[in-house]
């Protein structure tokens, strides 16, 4: 298993194809371990990981915690709702206090863009981004990529449609960077109030030619190898970004009819939790093309790979 060029995982923007390849290849091995009767390996024995979640999370935190335990790390959970953060402690002070307890790896989720990078600048710990604002959620994208590779063999040349609230989605941003790096073409689709407003994004450096967008979902999924539907948050209606769930479902929901123009073996993906009947119809979410539960399993494997490789990289440098 090779080490990574990156020291932390802030996001997939700028992460090399080689590093992503290494993570995915390692994740495939951990995926096999997860199928064994005894799923635990001693890779992170003696290391302590803190899960620093400033935003509510169930599945991502659980997935990380499980990955850490499968790797035999000592884990500590820190939730801002019952912490000193509530008492006005600054982010840096919180981190320094936790670090004083000799933490090796920090898995962090925060509403603010760039918090993982900020923490890395003020800490010696390895930082793994578990979601920062609407910026990036790299392990979610990696597990999406692992799922596509597992089912279709490769990402190279594949067409992936991401449908929904792109503008507020850290999952979409990480997938844009990660999947295009691995050779896929990404088509973004959503109502004009929920997609990035600036077409310059498509021309940005290495993204040029690899990303396009559509406001017609039928065109977006045409010949798609995979469709990632994003969760639509009800707050978007309150913020006047959308008129109704009903209209969204009628124009942007993934239905049997919409999928008729996709490839025969199209994969249906969703980062969860699903609003059934809104972004995905139930028969699609539970249908033969759905790989949503595979994504969840792959999430543990990918997070094991990330933690293992980052910790290994650090030990080699020490």
């Amino acid at each position: 298993m090779g080490a990574l060029q990156i020291k932390h995982l802030f996001g997939l923007q700028g992460v090399s194809k080689q590093d992503i390849r290494t993570i995915l290849d390692n994740a495939k091995q951990f995926r096999e371990i997860l199928e064994r009767p005894i799923k635990k390996v001693p890779s992170l024995r003696g290391l302590t990981v803190v899960n620093l979640f400033f935003e509510n999370s169930t599945r991502t935190r659980t997935s990380f915690e499980l990955a850490e335990k499968r790797l035999s790390a000592d884990t500590v959970n820190f939730a801002s709702s019952n912490s000193s953060v509530k008492k006005g402690e600054t982010l840096v002070d919180t981190l320094r206090n936790i670090e004083s307890m000799k933490i090796d790896i920090v898995v962090v989720r925060h509403k603010g863009t760039g918090v993982p990078k900020f923490l890395a600048e003020h800490s010696n710990a390895i930082i793994v981004n578990a979601g920062d604002g609407a910026h990036e959620h790299p392990t979610q994208a990696l597990l999406d990529m692992l799922t596509v590779e597992e089912k279709l063999g490769t990402l190279e040349g594949k067409k992936v449609a991401i449908v929904g609230d792109i503008r507020h989605s850290r999952v979409a941003r990480s997938n844009i960077w990660g999947m295009t790096t691995m050779g896929a073409h990404v088509t973004l689709c959503g109502p004009s109030t929920l997609v990035p407003r600036n077409t310059e994004l498509l021309q940005y450096k290495e993204l040029a030619g690899s990303v396009s967008w559509e406001t017609d979902v039928n065109k977006a999924v045409q010949d798609a190898d995979a469709v990632i539907a994003l969760r639509l948050q009800k707050e978007r209606m309150d913020d006047a970004l959308l008129p109704s769930m009903r209209e969204y479902r009628n124009f942007f929901g993934i239905t049997e009819q919409v999928l008729e123009s996709a490839k025969d073996k199209v994969l249906i993906m969703h980062p969860g939790p699903i609003n059934r009947g809104v972004e995905l119809d139930s028969e699609i979410a539970d249908g033969e093309h759905s790989v949503i539960l595979n994504q969840v399993t792959n999430g543990v494997a990918v997070r094991m790979a990330v933690l293992f490789l980052l910790a290994g990289g650090r030990n080699e440098n020490a």
Partner: protein, 426 residues
């Protein structure tokens, strides 16, 4: 930074200097300074300096006038004080400035008098020309008119809003209608608060990439248009602070053609930086109005060249370290500027607009805008070596805060010293 104002200092001659002589012209000169930091005339034959310093052709320029100075005192003197501000002015070569503090609305005459007293009592400020903007609404941002007639009598040079977004159209009209009786200019930050929403960066490719909430250009242009239409209707002079995009400058050009009395400034950092700096995710680049795209920045430079832009503003906004040592979106926006403005912009500014226009933008026009005395007779001056780079360290800044996008960076030029109100500082 050393101030030669005590008998313990060394007397000196600064040799090989070039004194600005109007237009693009300079004449050779020396500067003689006694041990107390006072200038010594050439007629003083007995002067025997302790030191002779070769300044390698450094330039002697008239001192500058700063727009947009928020010294935070009195309500946030934990962050910054008048004393800090005056120290910063001396270090950067400013002899005067326009005070407007978001935390300290001067919305009645008593506050104006108290502010002037406070300024007058903070030490070595003799001759430092500080002007004050009055508030047009009570407490900034309210729907109640401030006592503008009283404020004008008490010395307000104009009326502003502390950097808040423009008010709703009815109150804007009423404020300008009432304030028109004073004949004073209204200063606005052209920003529509509903279009700004919770944005913290320029709405563009970088905000989209980083998932940060953007402030679109139309938040500025719509606000500017609203103000200009009201100004045209009421015939009230207006000034736009920190214009950030070419579209607003187009509105200003058109407004002037219609006879509207409108002036504007652009911020130091908006000329020198653009939103590509957001990629660093460094909260030092958190400014409001936000740093816009490279094309916007270039449009501002064009506005300097063609005369649309009246002045370059400093927009001094001190921020506590603890409020910058957080992630970008949670940080408090703002930057220090006075100490580093001239070495940061001088070379580029001269290359684009020439020496005379550069000094007009940094010194004469801002002073004229608020009725301050002009820096014509070299009573105050700044000595700059345009070709000697300088490093921006925490020590460069007065006070205990040091928020600046240029902290740790190298500037193309150096301020060798300033002579402000009879005190030589280097």
């Amino acid at each position: 930074m050393k101030t030669l104002n005590s008998a313990k200092g060394a007397s000196r001659v600064l040799k090989n200097l070039k004194l600005w002589n109007k237009g693009e012209d300079f004449v050779d000169t020396d500067i003689r300074i006694d041990a107390e930091g006072k200038l010594v005339s050439k007629e003083e034959k007995d002067f025997k300096p302790d030191q002779e310093i070769d300044c390698n052709g450094a330039l002697v320029l008239p001192a500058l006038f700063g727009l947009g100075l928020d010294f935070m005192e009195p309500l946030r003197d934990d962050v910054y004080t008048f004393k800090n501000g005056l120290d910063a002015m001396r270090r950067g070569g400013f002899y005067g400035g326009l005070y407007e503090s978001a935390a300290n609305p001067i919305d009645d005459a008593d506050k104006m008098v108290a502010m002037k007293l406070r300024f007058g009592n903070c030490g070595k400020n003799d001759g430092m020309d500080i002007k004050f903007l009055g508030a047009y609404s009570k407490g900034f941002g309210s729907d109640s008119l401030a006592e503008m007639l009283d404020l004008a009598d008490a010395g307000a040079v104009g009326f502003g809003d502390g950097g808040a977004s423009i008010p709703h159209s009815r109150f804007l009209r009423l404020a300008m209608e009432y304030g028109k009786m004073t004949g004073k200019r209204f200063f606005f930050q052209p920003m529509d608060k509903t279009l700004r929403h919770s944005g913290c960066v320029h709405e563009g490719a970088y905000s989209d990439m980083l998932g940060m909430k953007g402030i679109p250009r139309i938040a500025e242009t719509i606000a500017a248009y609203t103000v200009l239409e009201t100004a045209r209707f009421l015939q009230v002079p207006v000034h736009f602070k920190q214009v950030t995009c070419g579209e607003t400058l187009d509105l200003i050009r058109n407004a002037r053609k219609q006879g509207i009395d409108v002036t504007c400034d652009v911020g130091l950092y908006h000329l020198l930086l653009d939103d590509s700096s957001l990629e660093t995710l460094d909260s030092a680049f958190h400014l409001i109005p936000p740093l816009r795209s490279a094309d916007d920045s270039e449009a501002l430079w064009k506005g300097l060249e063609d005369g649309t832009v009246t002045a370059i503003s400093m927009n001094l906004t001190p921020v506590l370290r603890q409020d910058t040592e957080v992630n970008f979106e949670d940080s408090i926006p703002g930057a220090l500027s006075l100490e580093i403005a001239l070495p940061a912009i001088w070379k580029k500014l001269c290359a684009r607009v020439g020496v005379a226009r550069a000094l007009e933008l940094l010194a004469f026009a801002p002073a004229r805008l608020v009725g301050a005395r002009l820096p014509e007779n070299f009573e105050n001056f700044v000595v700059i070596d345009p070709d000697k780079p300088s490093k921006v360290t925490e020590k460069v800044f007065a006070g205990h805060v040091c928020n600046s996008p240029f902290l740790g960076k190298e500037l193309p030029s150096s301020v060798l010293g300033t002579y402000i109100n009879g005190v030589w500082t280097e």
